[in-house]
């Protein structure tokens, strides 16, 4: 399928349009709420909750005995919330650490869910087709009503975020301070956790239990690299999430045998990779460049101050010296000498060098003025 044909299909084909919209909305809400999860060091909560939602789905089926995705969502929400509160209980009341608590809830709830699922499979009413979709996600099963539901919930989350914006911001970055100001941090904590659980539950049907955590984390982790402002980070994360959703759907729809969930996760991972490497302020590439530049500057300064120490013993500071005497000084290279000359700090005649008055002045002030160190 050509790109043009695909774009045409998105606007004409009902299924494709629904899926594209659904994954876009899902990516946006996950990015938005994932930002909070990442900043609150609860990154893996998403993984634990998405596994913990499974028994809820199975129990919802056992009670309603029909495949009703709203009932499933409710069941998943309840068991996800139970899981997240039990995690909190384990961390605060016992000496087990958060990693153990998360791993425990994850595996125990999921195992219990598997027990229920296999039990359901052997029940006489074979109406259970579709329950397994929640394991690995099946974007193709998205209906327009599901997308509407996602959009409405995203809207509600957005409004509540705006309403509690400064409280949430404060509690994310300085929970103790928020507490001393008299905000109910426990309420804010529960609010945010509940929202994260909601986002996870919404995504289960599309990307599945296992990949949900990446859906939540990857856009936020990528957005974090570009900014230090919470509002911008959340906006960026939502954009990254939505873009991964749309692009992932497009790729999986135009190729055979490519399930949507994993492709979306891989696209989101590409965003993370690019952000890690290329972000101007935190990225690895620019960090390396800055590191090298600093090292070169430092070596230049060391050489200059070494020269200064030699020159200051002479009456005439521009008295020439042999380049040879610099040779056993660490940090001296032909290139650094060349650079010094370019900056007009030294002048070189044949095998001799001499400090210029300007170079002498700079060297004398080198360790007096810290602000000078960064000069070009």
């Amino acid at each position: 399928m050509r790109l043009y044909e695909y774009i045409e299909l998105v606007f004409t084909d009902y299924t494709l349009r629904t899926i594209t919209l659904g994954t876009a909305v899902l990516g946006a809400i996950c990015g938005m709420l994932g930002s909070f999860a990442v900043l609150r060091k609860q990154s893996l909560l998403g993984d634990a909750i998405s596994h913990a939602a499974l028994p809820g789905i199975a129990i919802a089926f056992l009670i309603t005995e029909t495949k009703n995705s709203n009932a499933f969502l409710l069941g998943a929400l309840i068991s996800g919330l139970i899981g997240s509160f039990w995690i909190r209980g384990i961390i605060t009341k016992t000496k087990l650490k958060s990693d153990t608590a998360l791993g425990l809830i994850l595996s125990l709830f999921f195992g219990f869910g598997m027990l229920l699922l296999t039990y359901i499979q052997k029940m006489p009413n074979a109406n259970q087709a579709g329950l397994e979709n929640y394991l690995f996600g099946q974007a193709a099963t998205l209906l327009a009503s599901d997308v509407w539901m996602m959009a409405i919930i995203t809207g509600i989350c957005f409004c509540v975020l705006l309403l509690f914006w400064k409280e949430l911001k404060l509690s994310v970055f300085d929970a103790d301070y928020a507490k001393t100001l008299g905000f109910n941090t426990q309420f804010l904590d529960i609010l945010i956790t509940a929202f994260i659980v909601i986002a996870i539950v919404l995504g289960l049907q599309t990307v599945g239990v296992v990949l949900m955590s990446a859906m939540l984390l990857a856009p936020a982790a990528a957005a974090r690299q570009w900014t230090n402002s919470l509002a911008i980070m959340i906006t960026l994360a939502a954009i990254f999430g939505a873009t991964s959703g749309v692009v992932g759907t497009a790729i999986s729809a135009t190729h055979e045998h490519l399930s949507t969930g994993p492709v979306i996760v891989l696209i989101a991972a590409v965003f993370v990779g690019i952000s890690f490497i290329a972000s101007p302020s935190r990225g690895l590439l620019f960090r390396e460049i800055r590191f090298r530049k600093n090292r070169n500057d430092l070596q230049l300064h060391k050489t200059l101050s070494f020269m200064y120490n030699i020159a200051k013993d002479h009456e005439d500071i521009t008295h020439p010296h042999a380049i040879k005497i610099l040779n056993n000084f660490q940090g001296f290279t032909k290139r650094s000498l060349q650079k010094l000359e370019d900056k007009n700090y030294v002048s070189i005649q044949g095998t001799m060098w001499s400090l210029t008055p300007e170079g002498y002045q700079t060297a004398a002030n080198l360790y007096n003025q810290l602000s000078h160190i960064n000069d070009e």
Binding site: L44, K97, D99, G103, S107, G111, M114, A221, G261
Partner: protein, 387 residues
Amino acid sequence: MSSAQLEIQLIASLVAIACAIPGTFLVLRKMALITDAISHAILPGIVLGFFITEDLSSPLLILLAALSGVLTVILVEFIQKTKLVKEDTAIGLVFPVLFSIGVILIAQHANDVHLDVDAVLVGELAFAPFDRLLLYQTDMGPKALWIIGSILLITLGLLITFFKELKISTFDAGLAAALGLSPVVMHYGLMTIASITTVGAFDAVGAILVIAFMIAPAATAYLLTNDLKKMLFLAAILGVIAAISGYWLAHELDASIAGAITTVLGLIFLAVYLFAPQKGYFSVRYRQRQQRIEVSLLTFLLHLGNHTDNTSERHLQHLYEHINWQKVRAKSVVNLALKNNMIQIDQDIISLTEKGHSFTKEAIDYIVTNKNAEIENMKDRFFLFRG
């Protein structure tokens, strides 16, 4: 009980013991979640190995999968070292990506490969006895039993040989490094064992049960004891109990064995979490309540000690207002003080007894010299009744 049933229980028990050993150390080193990451991230290794060998239990496949497990650990640590994201985010980013690659690889070759993501993740213990190891046409028992058995033997051997080193590096990494034990070697050794165990067990029991077997018995044992050796034993025993009773639960319900075992593990943990004598939920709640009352008691006695010459400050009715306590709390504090013979009430005026005086005096000494911990020992000497 048929021989197949016996074999299933034997395999499950061996997996439980083999997982309990690395699991205990992972829980103690706060790296429990790395098992989750490994168990998902081995998928691409398994798929690649399967393309080459076409056999789910060949040693090459196990080796490849274990390698991708170790690769996960290295990747996670690399991302952590860049300090671009927090530690747990690194784990959460790496394994879904590797898992996605695995899923896509399987899907791309879905037609000509007999390999199911479900099988990898969930496993089916019930089929384990049917995959027999044939040596010179003689039946040597189920393959899974041999694989797990040899992994368990290797793990046990390493545990006994390096017990001392493991113990030191787990509880005091700095001391271990100072004594010349490389923390890196210990770390990657443990990771390799965890990875191999996960891979060796996934075929028989599935990834989720491996995570549960690694974390749940160790965490449960940790709530019951502080002794490393006891913790290892307890974790192994709890794992075996869950394996056997889980099997029979699955037998009754006609459901997934792995799911049933995990459920039993969950129930055991829940019971211990709530009722463990020292560290359980209820005893922690009880102790916190007790300490709150005892701190109140100390404040109350100090208040009395400060006002030995002023009776209005010590009047029973006014006291509530002065210290600003609610009635119920004030009453329980006064009762506790009375029971311990620290105060006497004479016409609604409370005064310290001889014992109360010496208690407050000693407590002030400790508070002034910043030895607050000593107050706990002091309580044992003075209190007849605890709060």
